[in-house]
Symmetry: C2
């Protein structure tokens, strides 16, 4: 018999069903002593003081489940990664669910399990949450917001405005895996069964990188808009030109093939388990070695350089030796990628 | 000519339009030096150390604009209040928007203005954010998640499990204003133009209360499910019985009249600018005076008492002298109240 339990409006009404959803579905999966107190918020010990990182993202990805992950894994990894990109050690997450009436509870259980697994992998706790239910048709299945708090170690000063003439640009591995996986899943394209989202928490990779290359100036995870959009943001924030070397860009054959077939550019495809780092030239080798020594950075590469320039821009030196502008997003628009 | 600017899918694509939305719409309204850095997260100074409060809520209210507030004011006040109920001084908020393609930008501007005003009123900063756009029909207008961080002063220990035999229950003012306002707006009922949401930040009221009644055991804001649901939660967490005195419950005549007409119970109507406090008997007068000395607590009242009991429950002594059980939500279900 099929599992016919679904989300009801009463699950979001603040009454007994709301309490049951939390106690029977969320707490056994995501629970910890802080969450289990069920107060209006979590109270957290931060006796050390110092700087905090704080970040948020809402996840609306469709389909909800895809090779390599699901919306729950994305929601945890995405916010963990945003904190890690601030140089922080992620510690605590909040989770806010918007559920559509009629959403299968079995899917919600699967998503909560996945969030719990990703949280363990990243070493973070989900300490506070909220669930809203909207009537059928007022949302599409489930949206998840996560916000997160991390602790920023002394001396770490990262920021998109710090790229300087002479710096190098590294990426931690293959580009476009997440974006191409979602696209092909959604369109029902049969473009090679090896396509798989890269969704992963990068905090331990960052810890390693900052240990070996403490002069790192900028860290970013190139999600929506891909490497192209993220580098344009950095170029604008720092007032520099960034030149990419096409031949150095790590792209899996399956993704490259799909891009050629579909007329897409891997530079604009979303990643959910990759970082880009702007590092001073003299720490480039140490940084690359640090990245490559971790499973999430095994295919790291030096892909570009930063230059002083009259106006911010990103350019690509193609394999043919020509140079072209890498503008802000110009590829196919793909909503609900994350 | 009507303002025909609307949200486009590209506003959420991570490209140039996304950047423009942030730079032209959000930053001028919500901006501060931290938000303006536009990094993946905010880095915040917390040199003092100590305990943090962390809370989140997603707002899906409909209609988006109503007498006394709008979804933006709710989104700021709701999370500020959740932090205040932990005894924390709210400091920093995140804001995550889910926008439906086609949503009028003029409405988004109005909402952002309202968030900015509420943040100023509460003395908090919106320091990090995220915007997603989903295709027409995949969400209903706009949903807003806010998460917040507050600092918990030394010595403050509040929690729903701390209500004890002999304690008294206070509420800070008239019950049900928000819930009845939303209900009548939504149903197009003409039940008196004086109905108005109570949405307000309660952090300064809490600061005052904890100063005068430092023994306060539990603070809660009775939002979804109203006082009835919130007291049932506290009774369950503390393992006590709570007896309410019907004649003491502060309810505006307009709300009481509408309740009678519609067959609703003000005990289950949502509030967005009220708190309930469980206070030891000996601090009851000091607590009431503290509440009444602040505009948001002018109509505070002592409404009930806590008793030891074989099983947790909430009961009401009616004006007729009879006693009835106040069960978990039993009134009309009203989704999207906040």
């Amino acid at each position: 018999m099929a599992d016919e339990r679904v989300v009801l409006l009463d699950h979001g009404g603040g009454g007994r069903l709301s309490a049951e959803l939390v106690e029977r579905l969320f707490l056994p999966r995501l629970g910890n002593p802080t969450l289990a107190r069920l107060d209006d918020g979590a109270v957290l010990d931060n006796h050390g003081g110092g700087r905090l990182a704080f970040s948020t993202d809402t996840y609306t990805v469709t389909p909800l489940f895809f090779p390599g992950g699901d919306i729950g894994r994305l929601a945890v990894c995405g916010t963990v990664n945003d904190l890690a990109m601030c140089g922080a050690q992620p510690r605590w997450l909040s989770a806010g669910f918007v559920l559509e009436e009629g959403f299968p509870l079995a899917d919600l259980e699967r998503i909560a399990d996945s969030m719990a697994a990703a949280a363990r992998e990243a070493g973070v706790q989900i300490v506070t949450g909220d669930t809203k239910v909207v009537p059928r048709g007022a949302a599409d299945g489930v949206f998840i917001n996560t916000a997160g708090i991390g602790l920023v170690p002394q001396g770490v000063r990262l920021g998109g405005h710090q790229a300087r003439d002479g710096d190098v640009v590294l990426v931690s591995g293959f580009l476009g895996d997440h974006g191409m996986t979602i696209l092909t899943q959604r369109e029902g394209l049969e473009l090679g069964s090896e396509l798989c989202s890269d969704a992963a928490p990068l905090n331990y990779l960052v810890e390693r990188l900052l240990g070996e290359a403490p002069g790192t100036r900028v860290l970013r995870d190139p999600t929506r808009g891909g490497l192209g959009a993220t580098l344009n943001e950095i170029a604008a924030q720092s007032g520099v030109e960034i030149e990419l070397e096409e031949r150095s860009l790590p792209v899996r054959p399956a993704v490259r093939g799909a891009c050629e077939l579909l007329g897409l550019d891997p530079l604009y495809l979303a990643n959910e388990g990759k970082l880009l780092a702007v590092v001073p030239q003299e720490q480039a080798e140490a940084a690359l070695a640090a990245l490559r020594g971790h499973p999430h950075g095994a295919h790291a590469a030096l892909v570009g350089r930063v230059r002083r320039a009259p106006r911010p821009r990103v350019v690509l030196r193609t394999t043919l030796g020509t140079t072209r502008l890498v503008d802000w997003l110009s590829g196919e628009q793909l909503p609900r990628i994350c």
